[in-house]
Amino acid sequence: MASASAEAKTTFEDFDQAKRMQGEITKNYFQRLLTAQANGQKVGYGFVMANPIEFFNVFDIVPLYPEVTSLNISYRGGAPPLIALSEEVGYSTDACGYVKMGVAAATDKTSTAIGVLPKPDLLYLTYSGCQIYIHWWEQLHYQTGAPILTVDVPYVREYDGHVDAHDIRYVAAQLEESIPVLEKFTGKRFDENRFKEVMRLSSKAWELWGKVLEMGKMRPSPLDAYFESIYYMAPITLIRGTQECVDFYAFLLEELKERASHGVGPTAREDYRLVFEGVPNYPFFKKFWNLFRQNNARGVVSTYPKVAGMIDTGSFHLNTDHPFESIAEYMIHAYCNWNMPLRTQLLEKYVRDYHADGVVIHSIKSCRSFSMGEGDMREYLAKEKDIPTLLIESDHVDPRYYSEAQIKNRVDAFFETLALRRAA
């Protein structure tokens, strides 16, 4: 293959610059994280799902998301030794792999594929969507002695998505209660102007990110909203509330528009449009993607990138006039904090809105927050709505649960049925 010429964009690579930018952003973030404590900064552990990271920004606390570090480590093949460390001390094989990796990485001097991670100065427990969060922080609390700061977030319990006012009040009240705690912890005063500025930047980034994901509605879609989003969702999590983050999504949006105008996309053609549900498989990420890429299938929309915030559901606005209430609402509407019928209906709506051919559910054996109910989701979509739906299982970080022959068999058969339907 001849190398791409400087002026004309010829290969897909040329339209894939945002991914590279994301790589830089992630690298810089890790750099900042690994040196934070040496620079006298506090490291706060937090969760990805609908977190109010704006508070960390204002108090200058460097966030560490064990979900992000774990997925990065496992993407680089580094999960097995960490999981082994945890299982050696007694963690069950059935426990969430993120927890096992996170706990091992926070043990004295454990070196990981991305370096020796700082231990927590603070454990920020935001209970959006996953119960294991509580247990995880408890483990780290007993292991490291770091204090836990809790923000309780009620589950979206109504099947029509309605959220009671008392839920929002309760979360907002706790956010307010957390301010003096954070002031004491950092020795800094809460700067309201700074907070508003951070909120503004956050909203801006969210808006752009939402537009990016909407691009999947185009036919063909210029992006793979599942596999590529794995990369694209990093900045909104890691550096939200900064200009850099806003710039990234602006760039990405432009790039995708360009792809669209050149008729370029992540696969040679777009033969199938799929909706994806569930956490991907990180240790075999590329292999897994290939199973779909080979069939010229693109993920046009997926629920996974929405774990950080439900930007496309109309339930999401950050409002600087009511910062606490609007953050509270955002936290309540985390994807896994929705009850199952809501999640299922969202998928059904995606199939319609994005003109998809079918749904692929990648179910994680050790993550019940996502997977409990995915079987029923399949029941509903396949049986009641006659939408071709494939349910496959493995793990997000543990390579021991990935059986290639088995998964390939299912994926191949799924494409055979899609082809049949197409012919009919």
Partner: protein, 273 residues
């Protein structure tokens, strides 16, 4: 040979057995063959192909198209193309029992429930999940551990009068559980039937995922097992289609695909290989 190249072969390279089937240009089954897969899939599938030709008195030149299926489908080097065994079992079951709407395929390492339409095409399918309990391998394991022949297991279980409950969710563990039940003094027949009953419950769970619509055709190696048939029929409260050919269903379906592909390939004027 009067009509050269008017036969179509399907080879199903399964985890346990490799099966072959040959059909003529009207879709009649001309012959079948089976043998252990063993360690070398390439050799095993070649061997079955040879056996199939021998048994039917054909030459390679009589065969117009070969479709491979099963786990080893990509290793069937002499095949023209490959199709997953899910589509093949559906196709094969439809040929054997044209009123089939649901297929249950129990093979060596997985169990599949398939919903098919009036043309034998797959509408939906579901396979045993990550946890492998409830496949034919489990019966094989129990047979080996107990020093029984595979064929004996099902027969013996039919003599059970007071089935023991084997509930383990794990195939590995269930093997031990089997022996424990024996150690506690339950009869061999009762324990064996217990195994079949517990596997049947799992299989029915899978069938429910795709919806149970009569007729149900039982395919795969385990459809040769009378104990399993009884357990399934008892729990489902309805009869299953099965016979000596259902074990070859995957290969038969593959042969039918070979027939279909070959005719569409001639229409398009190209080869799918």
């Amino acid at each position: 040979m009067q009509a050269s190249r008017s036969y179509y072969a399907g080879i199903d390279a399964g985890s346990t057995y490799t099966k072959g089937a040959l059909v003529d240009d009207r879709g009649n089954i001309v012959g079948t063959a089976v043998d252990m897969t063993g360690v070398n899939i390439v050799t095993a599938s070649k061997k079955i192909y040879g056996l199939l030709l021998d048994k039917t008195g054909m030459n390679e030149s009589d065969v117009a198209y070969v479709v491979g299926t099963g786990y080893g489908r990509y290793r069937i080097t002499f095949g023209n193309t490959q199709v997953t065994e899910i589509s093949c079992h559906a196709k094969g079951a439809h040929l054997l029992y044209p009123n089939t709407h649901t297929v249950l395929d129990m093979g060596g390492q997985d169990t599949k429930a398939i919903r098919v339409n009036a043309h034998g095409e797959v509408m939906d399918f579901s396979m045993n999940d990550k946890c492998a309990a409830g496949t034919g391998r489990f019966i094989e394991g129990s047979a080996r551990v107990l020093g029984l022949k595979l064929q004996e297991v099902g027969e013996l279980s039919l003599r059970s009068t007071n089935p023991v409950k084997i509930s383990s969710t794990c195939a590995v563990f269930a093997e031990t559980e089997t022996q424990e039940q024996l150690a506690w003094g339950h009869s061999l027949e009762d324990v064996l039937y217990g195994i079949h009953a517990s596997m049947a419950t799992r299989a029915i769970g899978l069938l429910r995922r795709v919806g149970i619509e009569p007729e149900i055709t039982f395919t795969g190696g385990v459809s040769m097992n009378p104990g399993m048939i009884r357990a399934l029929e008892e729990q489902l409260g309805q009869r299953l289609n099965h016979d000596g050919k259902t074990m070859y269903c995957g290969a038969i379906g593959a042969a039918i695909f070979a027939l279909e592909r070959a005719s569409s390939a001639t229409h398009e004027g190209g080869s799918a290989a």
